[in-house]
C-alpha cells in the first residue's frame, strides 16, 4: 500500500515537462461559463442572505437581543504567537511540501471523472459524520447531533455506504463539527497560534481538538479503515480529496506578509465562531494589550 502511494506521488511529480528555463505544468481546466452561471444563480441566494440577515437582526432586536459587540470589544490586531520562530519554519515546510507534492497530486486527482471524485468526497464526509454526532452531543447541541445522526443513517444505507449524499437532497444539509469546537464550547481559549506540519494553520486548542478527532476515529475504527496497512491508503486518499477541494495556493500573490495575514485571519475567524457558540452571553472582553487568542 505504501509503495503504491509513493509510486502515485512520483508519477505526479514527474508529470509535466521541464526545460532549462521554463517548467510547464498543466493545471485543471477553467470553466468560465459554468462559473458565471453559478455566480448568477448565487445572486438570488445572496439577496436572500442579505434579507435574512437584516430580518434576523431586526427580529432579534425585538426579542432578547444578544449583547452587541462594540469595536472596543474586538480582539487586538496582534495575535498570540509565542512559538513564532518554529511556526514560521513549519509554514515554509508546509508551503514547500504543498508545492512539490500535495498540490501536484491533487491536480492530477482532479482529472478523475467528477462522479468518482464526488463519491469519494461523500464517502469521507459520511465517515466524518460519526465524529460530528459525538461532538455535537458533547457540546450539548442535540438538535444538530440528531441531524448528523440522521444524515449518517440515511447516507450509509440509501446512499450506499456514504457514496451518495442523499440526506442533503432531502434538505438535511450537514455541518461537520469536531473536538476543537467542543473545547471552545466548554470555554477554552484558542491559546498560542500553531502551524501544524502538513495540516497548516491552527492553535493549541484546535490542534488538541484534531488529536481528539483522530483518537475517536482510531478508537472506533469503522469498518477497520483506521488501523493497520489499509489506514495508509485511506488516510492518503482522504488527504488528497481534502486538498483537491481547497482553493488555496501558498504564496499565490507572492506577498512577503502571507504568514502574518493567514495567522490574523485564522485566529479572527475562530474567535468569531467562538462568540457564536455563546450567543446569549456577554462578550469576553480582553485588555487591549493582550494579543488575540491568549
Amino acid at each position: 500500500m505504501r509503495a503504491a502511494v509513493l509510486a502515485a506521488l512520483l508519477a505526479a511529480l514527474l508529470d509535466g515537462c521541464a526545460s532549462q528555463v521554463l517548467s510547464i505544468r498543466t493545471v485543471p481546466d477553467q470553466t468560465p461559463a459554468a462559473d458565471n452561471a453559478a455566480a448568477a444563480a448565487n445572486a438570488a441566494a445572496f439577496a436572500d442572505a442579505v434579507a435574512a440577515e437584516s430580518a434576523n437582526s431586526s427580529a432579534q432586536e425585538a426579542q432578547d437581543a444578544p449583547p452587541l459587540l462594540t469595536p472596543a470589544d474586538a480582539p487586538s490586531m496582534y495575535t498570540y504567537d509565542p512559538w513564532e520562530r518554529l511556526n514560521r519554519f513549519t509554514y515554509r515546510f508546509n508551503a514547500r511540501f504543498d508545492e512539490a507534492i500535495f498540490l501536484p497530486v491533487a491536480d492530477t486527482y482532479r482529472r478523475a471523472p467528477a462522479p468518482i471524485r464526488a463519491g469519494i468526497h461523500n464517502f469521507f464526509g459520511n465517515l466524518a459524520e460519526i465524529d460530528s454526532v459525538i461532538n455535537y452531543t458533547l457540546q450539548w447541541r442535540l438538535k444538530y447531533g440528531w441531524r448528523s445522526f440522521t444524515r449518517l443513517a440515511i447516507n450509509s444505507t440509501i446512499g450506499i455506504g456514504g457514496l451518495f449524499d442523499v440526506a442533503t437532497k432531502l434538505k438535511l444539509p450537514g455541518t461537520p463539527t469536531g473536538f476543537a469546537t467542543t473545547l471552545a464550547k466548554w470555554g477554552m481559549h484558542p491559546g498560542p497560534y500553531l502551524v501544524i506540519p502538513l495540516l497548516g494553520p491552527s492553535t493549541l486548542r484546535d490542534g488538541v481538538g484534531f488529536l481528539g478527532d483522530y483518537g475517536a476515529e482510531y478508537g472506533i475504527n469503522v469498518a477497520g479503515l483506521y488501523r493497520g496497512n489499509v489506514s495508509w491508503g485511506v488516510g492518503t486518499v482522504n488527504a488528497i480529496d481534502q486538498r483537491a477541494n481547497i482553493n488555496f495556493r501558498y504564496y499565490s500573490g507572492g506577498s512577503p506578509f502571507e504568514y502574518e495575514t493567514i495567522r490574523f485571519l485564522y485566529v479572527r475567524r475562530r474567535l468569531i465562531e467562538d462568540e457564536g457558540l455563546h450567543p446569549k452571553e456577554p462578550v469576553k472582553k480582553t485588555a487591549d494589550e493582550v494579543p488575540a487568542g491568549k
Binding site: 517548467s23 493545471v27 481546466d29 445572496f46 442579505v50 444538530y144 481547497i246 507572492g254 475562530r270 462568540e275
Partner: protein, 457 residues
C-alpha cells in the same frame, strides 16, 4: 482524518477579501436593487469622499465588478498551464522572499496556429487574478492563445524578473517585462504556434502594455501588433496620489486608523454571526456580511483604498530591501525566515506612496541617474512620454470609463484627444468594473482584430 484544519484556510481568505474590502470580490454580485429598499439601507447614503472621476456607482462597480447577468458569453472550458520561469538576470533572492524566486505566468494554448494575446495585470497583482480569468476566457473563446503575466509591481515579478528590485519606474519596469516576455515566448513548447502577438493590460498594466509595444517598435524582438489598454493611468504618481488621498479621507492617517477600521469590521461581522444561528463562518455567511457591512460611499472608498495600500506595503518592503534604503529594514542585517515581519507590516500600512517615492524610489534612482531630479522622475512616469506614438500609431487602443477614480477630467480628455477614435469611454464600471461585460468584450475583440472603429460608428 487529515486536514479538518486545512479546510479553514480558504474561508480565512474570504474573510480577508471582506476585511481587505475587495468585499465580495469581482465575479460576485452586487445586491439586486430590491434589497436596497430594506430598512437598514433606506437612509440616504452619506456623501463619501469622491476622488478623481469616481461617483457612487463607480465606487460600487469597482468593488463588485461586472454582474454575472451582464457578462459576455464565455467558453465552457479553458485549458490552463502554469509556467515557472527562472530568469538569468534575476538578482540574488533575499532569504525572506524565497518563494518568489521564479516568475510564474499562465498559458492557455489553442491546438492550432493562432495569434497570442498577452495580458498584463494591474498594480501589485499576480498573473492569475479574477479579472485576468475573465479576460483570458474572453480572449481564448475568440481564438487567441492567451499568456497572462503579473504586474512588474507585484512581489513575485520584482523578485524573479526585475533588474532593480525597486518597482515603479514605467520605462525600467517595461524593459524588464519585455525581456521576460521574450524569454518565455522563446521557450514555449513547439506545439504552440503563434501567428501574431497582441497585448492587453488593465490599470497600471495598460500603461505597461503601451510602453512595451513602444520599446518593441525600436527593438523588433517580438513584433507586437496591437495594444488595448483598459482603464490605464495617465500619470502614475497622480493616480497613486489619488488613492493615498482616498485612504486618508476614508480611513484616516496612520495605523491607528486601520486598527479602528478593523475593530469596526470585526464587531459588525461578529454581531451578524452571533445573530445568525450559523454553525460555521463560511462563504455564504460572508457574502451576506460583506453586503451588510459595505453601504456608504465612504465604506466602499475605504475598501478600495485599503486594498491598494496592502499592495503598496509589499512593494515598499521589497523596494526597501533591494534598494538598501533602510526605511523599515536594516541593510546590514536583512530579516531572516524565522523573524517576525509584523512590526514592519504595521509601520508600512501607515505610509502613503509619497513616502515610498521620497524614501525608496527617488533615492534609488537619483543615485543611478545623475541627471535626474525628483521632478524629472515624476515626469518620466507619465504615459505622455510616448504621446507621439500613441497619437500616430493606429495600433494603440484604450477602453476606460467616465467614472474611473484613478483619472481626472484633464487626463481623460488627454487620452481622448491623443487616441481620438481609438478610445471608447463607458458611462459605467468605475475602475475595472466594466471588464467582462458584453460591450467591453466585443469592443476589445474588435480593437485587437483591427476592426475598430466599426464602420457604423
Amino acid at each position: 482524518m487529515m486536514s479538518a484544519r486545512l479546510k479553514l484556510i480558504p474561508f480565512a481568505l474570504i474573510l480577508s477579501v471582506v476585511a481587505a474590502g475587495a468585499a465580495v470580490a469581482a465575479g460576485q454580485v452586487e445586491p439586486p436593487q430590491s434589497t436596497s429598499q430594506t430598512p437598514a439601507q433606506s437612509a440616504p447614503p452619506s456623501p463619501g469622499p469622491a476622488i478623481g472621476l469616481a461617483d457612487s456607482a463607480g465606487l460600487r462597480a469597482t468593488v463588485f465588478g461586472t454582474p454575472p447577468q451582464d457578462m459576455a458569453v464565455l467558453p465552457a472550458k479553458v485549458p490552463l498551464s502554469e509556467i515557472n520561469a527562472e530568469l538569468p538576470w534575476r538578482l540574488p533572492v533575499p532569504q525572506v522572499l524565497w518563494f518568489d524566486a521564479k516568475l510564474r505566468v499562465w498559458l492557455s494554448a489553442q491546438d492550432k496556429p493562432a495569434p497570442l494575446a498577452i495580458v498584463i495585470s494591474g498594480t501589485g497583482s499576480d498573473g492569475n487574478t479574477k479579472t485576468i480569468s475573465v479576460l483570458r476566457a474572453a480572449l481564448y473563446g475568440a481564438g487567441y492563445h492567451v499568456l497572462t503575466m503579473p504586474s512588474p509591481t507585484s512581489p513575485a515579478f520584482i523578485v524573479s524578473a526585475s533588474s532593480t528590485g525597486v518597482a515603479g519606474d514605467l520605462m525600467r519596469d517595461g524593459k524588464d517585462l519585455y525581456a521576460a516576455m521574450q524569454e518565455i515566448i522563446a521557450h514555449l513548447p513547439r506545439k504552440v504556434r503563434v501567428t501574431d502577438i497582441d497585448l492587453v493590460g488593465y490599470s497600471l498594466g495598460g500603461a505597461h502594455a503601451a510602453i512595451v509595444k513602444s520599446i518593441d517598435a525600436t527593438e523588433h524582438k517580438l513584433k507586437i501588433h496591437r495594444v488595448v489598454m483598459i482603464n490605464p493611468p495617465v500619470s502614475l504618481f497622480s493616480s497613486v496620489g489619488r488613492l493615498d488621498r482616498l485612504f486618508a479621507a476614508a480611513i484616516g492617517p496612520g495605523d491607528q486608523a486601520v486598527e479602528l477600521l478593523y475593530r469596526r469590521l470585526y464587531a459588525q461581522i461578529a454581531n451578524l454571526y452571533r445573530a445568525s444561528d450559523r454553525l460555521e463562518l463560511d462563504e455564504n455567511f460572508l457574502l451576506g456580511a460583506g453586503a451588510a457591512t459595505l453601504k456608504t460611499d465612504a465604506e466602499f472608498s475605504a475598501a478600495i483604498a485599503l486594498t491598494f495600500r496592502l499592495q503598496l506595503v509589499d512593494m515598499f518592503f521589497i523596494g526597501d530591501l533591494y534598494g538598501k534604503t533602510g526605511v523599515v529594514t536594516d541593510p546590514a542585517h536583512p530579516p531572516k525566515v524565522s523573524d517576525s515581519l509584523e512590526g514592519i507590516q504595521r509601520d508600512l500600512r501607515a505610509k502613503p506612496f509619497a513616502d515610498y517615492f521620497a524614501r525608496v524610489f527617488a533615492p534609488y534612482y537619483l543615485k543611478r541617474r545623475p541627471d535626474a531630479t525628483s521632478a524629472s522622475l515624476i515626469a518620466s512616469n507619465r504615459l505622455d512620454i510616448i504621446t507621439d506614438t500613441l497619437r500616430n500609431d493606429g495600433d494603440y487602443y484604450a477602453q476606460t470609463t467616465s467614472n474611473d477614480l484613478i483619472l481626472n477630467k484633464s487626463e481623460l480628455a488627454w487620452l481622448q484627444d491623443t487616441l481620438s477614435a481609438r478610445i471608447v469611454v463607458y458611462d459605467h464600471g468605475g475602475h475595472l468594473g466594466e471588464i467582462g461585460d458584453r460591450q467591453q468584450v466585443a469592443d476589445m475583440l474588435d480593437m485587437l482584430s483591427g476592426s475598430w472603429p466599426r464602420s457604423t460608428q
